[in-house]
Symmetry: C2
Subunit: 318 residues, 2 copies
């Protein structure tokens, strides 16, 4: 018999790994049955510190996350990792999760790793990820790391919806990568330049600092100046500095209006994403027939997308 | 005095570059004033062949697009390029557009290049991009190339919403990149392996063919088998083959039920994206005060995101 989400909750609160996994799957699938339980989870959550990690592909983000998790773990913290994964019929999903699982973190009960597939999620990825954060939060994890593989608009938004956002750069990446990097620098609370053991790391760091100096003049009111931390996952260097920067940012949020502002911003994002999801789910449920018929009229250009969109919304009233 | 969108339209239809640029900007900004005109544009569009191009960062996509555009141009076609760009206060946006503009396509009136910023778009990127495609279509461009820089969920969806989707791979990319690649292979109508002049290209091509063979067995009903085309932008090799593959796919769509199915799929995607945008815009307009108040209650965990989301939707009725 299927255990209800309500009955899973007490086990989740005790940190039962199997119960956590089941509730996470239901949250990811936007199963309506678990919605009330997720509401209950939300009201109990709020203790964990959430770290969003993004960066261009090839920046060594995954390895950095796994070394960072190891360091935080050694300091006695329980660590949850949510990896936002591209997935497909070819890969079967959760490549990154598998990779981390095979690393030296595996077998440690103080570390929980979950891959969230970006494809085919009923209900959006942002809503699902933030529900997953709450589940790990109430299950007793102290730090929750959200790592994104993709660097699209959605992924950047999710990495921003955290207490501390790390943006990872690395030396030796091409032009196309640099263009993507420029698009995500602004969201960083802490910049990490990984692969600092490479000979060209020094110039990457100084280039980054120069770009940031440019940005600071645009936003003189900012009270937190994002530090640039160089790490080498290979040599295990720079992680003490990174931990200390994380602690400083946490203290900054706790001691200033910035913490409250950040929480409000996350809440607002979350509320809108959840509402959008609820809308999309209703939308898909209620008007499947009309969508198909209207698509045909759109193909023949009898109507236009705005008229079709308006018509569909009209049918949305509860 | 500001020219109305309605008055811009006749000039757009004649291919007037300044008028095209202005209407594109209004479409991108989701300016309500241009909505009726965009509806009119839609009803006149449908002649152009739309090619979506995506691929992992570092695959040499931008250079490939610019060489491909040159080839199609030489065959006498007019080419529109829409580059989906990451943008930020640091970069000022449109890095890719600038780069292409500086190439040997510049100064040719038969090529129009437009960068669309992914950030801060009021109304979503997908809706804006598809409106831009229509504008270039009615302005007389024969081929419209949509190139995405990011490889997030949104970007992949946009590249799929085209008649022919190219997925670009390249030799010598790391693990993290491979993970992303696996996530986008399935959307390809044509696979391009760029940088075929590199010595390790041969193994990339055979690896790709192996992955695809795996996929084909999953979907035996498919009547189009995506070919793998090797190109070298450096040496200008493989582009005749690529053009011929594009023509074949175009003919395939025209001669089979697949073309109709594809059009219906695009129409459905577009309708939903436009409806979502209209919802989001209304949503933001109507409930700004409530959003702020509710965010505070969410921060203090008096309510949960689902309850907040439901409350917000309730207030959405027209």
């Amino acid at each position: 018999m299927r255990v209800s989400s309500r009955d899973l909750l007490p086990r989740v609160l005790k940190g039962d790994v199997a119960a956590i996994a089941r509730l996470l799957s239901r949250a990811e699938a936007a199963d309506p049955e678990c919605r009330d339980t997720l509401g209950e989870v939300y009201s109990r959550a709020g203790k964990a510190h959430v770290i969003g990690i993004t960066g261009v592909p090839g920046s060594g983000k995954s390895t950095m996350v796994s070394v960072l998790a190891g360091h935080l773990r050694k300091a006695g913290h329980k660590i949850g990792i949510i990896a936002i994964d591209p997935s497909s019929p070819y890969s079967g999903g959760s490549i990154m999760g598998d990779r981390i699982r095979m690393s030296d973190l595996s077998g440690d009960e103080g570390v929980y790793i979950r891959s969230m597939a970006t494809r085919g999620a009923l209900g959006g990825m942002a809503r699902a990820t933030l529900d997953a954060v709450d589940i790990l939060d109430v299950a007793g994890f102290d730090y929750i790391l959200i790592e994104t593989v993709g660097v699209g608009q959605d992924e950047v938004e999710i990495a921003s919806a955290s207490h501390t956002t790390l943006v990872v750069s690395a030396p030796g990446l091409g032009d196309e990568i640099q263009a993507i990097k420029a698009g995500i620098l602004e969201i960083a609370d802490i910049h990490v330049v990984s692969k600092s053991d490479r000979p060209d790391a020094r110039s990457t760091i100084s280039d980054l600092k120069q770009m940031l100096a440019l940005g600071i003049s645009l936003d003189a009111s900012a009270t937190w100046r994002p530090p640039v931390i160089a790490t080498s996952s290979l040599k295990g260097e720079g992680f003490a500095e990174l931990e200390s920067a994380l602690e400083k940012h946490k203290a900054f949020l706790a001691s200033s209006e910035a913490g409250r502002t950040r929480s409000r911003k996350i809440a607002q994002f979350r509320m809108l994403k959840t509402a959008e999801d609820l809308l999309r789910i209703r939308f898909n449920e209620r008007s499947a027939g009309r969508v198909a018929a209207m698509a045909d009229r759109l193909v023949s250009r009898e109507i236009n997308p705005y008229a079709a969109g308006e018509k569909l919304i009209e049918g949305m009233g509860a």
